[in-house]
Symmetry: C2
Subunit: 338 residues, 2 copies
Amino acid sequence: MATMHDVARLAQVSVSTVSYVLTGTRPISQATRDKVHAAMAELDYQPNAMARGLASRRSRIVGLLMPMDERGLGATETAFVTGAAAAASTAGYHLVLAPVGTTDLDDLRRLASQRMLDGAVLMEVQVEDGRVAVLQEAGVPLVLIGRTSDTAALSYVDIDFDQTVREAVDHLVGLGHTRIAYVNHSEAAIAAGYGPAVRTRDAFVARMAAHGLEPLMIAAEDSAAAGREALDAALAQAPDLTALLAMNENAVFGILGELAARGRTVPGDVSVVSMVTSPQVAELAHPALTAMTSPGSALGRIAVEALLRQLDGVTGDHHQQLLPCALEIRGSTGPPGR
Amino acid sequence: MATMHDVARLAQVSVSTVSYVLTGTRPISQATRDKVHAAMAELDYQPNAMARGLASRRSRIVGLLMPMDERGLGATETAFVTGAAAAASTAGYHLVLAPVGTTDLDDLRRLASQRMLDGAVLMEVQVEDGRVAVLQEAGVPLVLIGRTSDTAALSYVDIDFDQTVREAVDHLVGLGHTRIAYVNHSEAAIAAGYGPAVRTRDAFVARMAAHGLEPLMIAAEDSAAAGREALDAALAQAPDLTALLAMNENAVFGILGELAARGRTVPGDVSVVSMVTSPQVAELAHPALTAMTSPGSALGRIAVEALLRQLDGVTGDHHQQLLPCALEIRGSTGPPGR
DNA sequence: GCGGATTGTCGAAGCGTTTCGACTAACCGG
DNA sequence: CCGGTTAGTCGAAACGCTTCGACAATCCGC
């Protein structure tokens, strides 16, 4: 491996000059720059990332922090990851995937103090999330995907759940539905303060009230089986139900299966809207699901871009942005039955 | 941030002694070790990852290389990623996600020469994969998830497609099916030499021949719509079809939808086996899919563990391992109809 | 009780960059 | 033509660790 010394020697300049050519920190004459570039090309020179990181105190690595406690990632979360990875890579940064749960705060403290991360993106943020304080204390710039309750001094990108729920409810109400149930994430998720679960609950209650309708919410684990149970529960509480909103990608399929098993057609008897869903997943169902399409990889990309701007930024202010999900009408919604 | 100097001063030993306490490279008396540990605790000392990496020429970072050209990751690939991340994290390594396609070999060369990666795990390996040579030339140890045609000097973990296809075919034949079609990945994937597509094709042809049956393979893009078309094509070529094997997670759902639309029941009229599928996804379908369950996160974990062993290993030899998918019988297969 | 191994510690030399201060030469406005 | 910028370059000092060679002290078999 060639080092900067080798390049400097071959180009007959000093090491610092080579460094300036590379970083552009100081002006260098065109002639010198050409000599240096020629030498670098000849030696097939690549700067050593560790040395650079040590001297400049910038690793050009950002972390993507996500809890791994749960049952793997859904399609939406996977899209965050790929979006973030692509954005980092484009900007010449590296993305390390750090599986650090909301409870392993000591692990996180260790990671943050190693000075390996220039910054971090937090996924699966909870309304009260201890990771935020840990990173701030360690002086690691951060951007959230999601948000905590107090966002005053934070950068975040999140889905606009208010707007998303509003559009979904309005779509159903517009079709003429009045008995609408919402199948949310699990009780555990809600209790833990998982943002999407808490915010959609509140938004649902609010929007139904605005229409003068009674809100019915059912919590369900992330599985098809739980979806079936959720449907049972919903029908028990509201036998005259004609529409369902579901946050829970996996549960939706259980709901559809159970509806079919009970001889209820979709959308003839019951309309279904899937919230925060990727088009691919929506297409898997039969009929294809009317869904609020999540801005998946865009969220990941925007989060990383905001972080990088913050890193080499004069900017004192914070990036705070909400993205709505787009309503895509497919085959699972229609006017209420007969 | 406290440095090793601070620790050494406080503990009244030399810097090198602190280093030896940390790395265990040389014996240190219990008394000294205690002093040093006390000092580290008091100062809240964390070693600087960059400095350590520079001095030791080991970054403790491994790369997970995956092409991003395609339509995001499926559930199976996501499981590789999470398995790998967990394994790396457990071993005190970091995992960087590098979206480097099979065609950006120059990007890869650059990445590999930066000395940031101690080793790499390659995902989505093609039968002829240029990335392997690039990494080998750069002297970066690597482990494949998948394998190339010539595996002589390589470490890899892969799914045992032969065995998986055999079990799936035998399951259907055992139920009494004789007209069986295989819905593979796309023509493009096959042409590009994508391992799973190529190997299952060959295995299917071979196993059908062993049973004295005629193999019928249809290629389909990874989408529900393509699955519908694939079913059309299959029925056109073999109207008396009673069973389908599908490699293509997304296409399976299209196939099920189209079967329902044509009034054919599953498994009454047609049995369906989904290959290399996660249980969660299999449960989404109605009826739940009989599937060959992919060893998802285990593959990622094993790959990383093999890589790390290779890194601090005397071992000259290579880790080569095939994992079969387990047949899990659910509701989508049964004896051929009436 | 002797030679050789082992244990425990230290100082110093890297590792390959960035960055700071200093210096020269050219340039510019008055 | 003089003082003050600016452009262009250099040498050396970090950056925070690992590792090598050296050395003293202790141990062990015989």
